[in-house]
Symmetry: C2
Subunit: 197 residues, 2 copies
């Protein structure tokens, strides 16, 4: 069954795109990340809470401080990428809710008054946004290299000392370099991933 989305767009976002492990030297401009953000910001979060925060790691000093918390091959991979971003949850996202979700002006002080409730909802919704963001990087004609192999508690201490942001994913961004891709691993068949009740 065919989809409404143009086949070239399907290829760009899903079928031909792969996680990149090496990148060319071609720089990635702030404006490119802004264009990605200005597209993917429209995808849904619960109560439009939009808790994802994006930290562009530009300076050599910041890059080194980040890599100190990388595991295994993620360190050298990150040092060699033209741009690396840290994705984190804003644990105080509720402060912006009166503006972001005017239909229910009191949820800042009801549903989201407790830090534990905010962290649970914020983590879930920032992770959904991370999925949108990875596809947005591809929409910009760039390759993403998302990594979970970091000591995120260490990253938080290093970059978010006030305890108000919790990092959960680091993403290298750029044009794929030499031998950028591992062979595509198999995916589950629909019948394995889906069931009908």
């Amino acid at each position: 069954m065919s989809l409404a989305l143009d086949p070239a767009a399907q290829d760009l976002l899903f079928r031909e795109a792969q996680t990149a492990n090496t990148f060319t030297d071609e720089p990635v401009a702030d404006e490119q990340i802004q264009a990605v953000y200005d597209l993917v910001k429209f995808a849904p979060t619960a109560f439009n809470q939009s808790p994802l925060r994006i930290t562009l790691v530009r300076s050599q000093d910041a890059r080194k401080r980040l890599v100190n918390h990388a595991m295994g091959a993620n360190g050298p991979k990150t040092l060699a990428a033209p741009l690396t971003v840290i994705l984190s949850v804003d644990l105080d996202f509720h402060e912006k809710l009166p503006r972001l979700f005017p239909a229910l002006p009191d949820i800042k002080d009801t549903y989201f008054s407790e830090p534990a409730a905010r962290e649970a909802a914020g983590t879930q919704n920032a992770t959904l946004q991370a999925g949108y963001f990875i596809l947005g990087i591809r929409a910009a004609g760039l390759a993403a290299g998302p990594m979970t192999g970091f000591d995120f508690a260490g990253v938080d201490k290093e970059f978010f000392g006030d305890g108000k942001q919790k990092s959960f994913l680091v993403v290298n961004v750029g044009k794929p370099g030499a031998d950028a891709f591992f062979p595509r691993s198999p995916r589950l068949e629909f019948a394995e991933a889906a069931a009908t009740v």
Copy 2:
């Protein structure tokens, strides 16, 4: 700055798409959800763990059992949708890793031997996949209505009695009906969501 993705595709997936709250009677076929899955399955998860499971709620009985665990308006909204899917994490996703990630055949018994480690990684990666899936629904020319307002522990008891799957999102799927959309809420500016270090 313009993106590589065709503007019509940008509109379909992000700019013109919105969370739908009502749907027409037009049915959604299993084959449509399969086409969505067969596209979005290629988007990345850590170690290709692919922990997302999709439960298509088709029978009237199953629909009623699901709605018993809905909060507020989510009940009637769900009863009226042509198709509803439950998104869940397979807490035993590691059993499939030797096939899904042949490059590291032992991670099933190392990184992912502990249930707590599996639940943390599985939840994060299934949530990324939920983000891909929502965009995939839109890629099929359908509207998604994702909802977190369910008693998910109740849903799990009702549908996943063996404790091996944990639900975290319910998504209505169909063609948007009358007054399907709330007015678009504002999004954060790039400078509010992003910082450079």
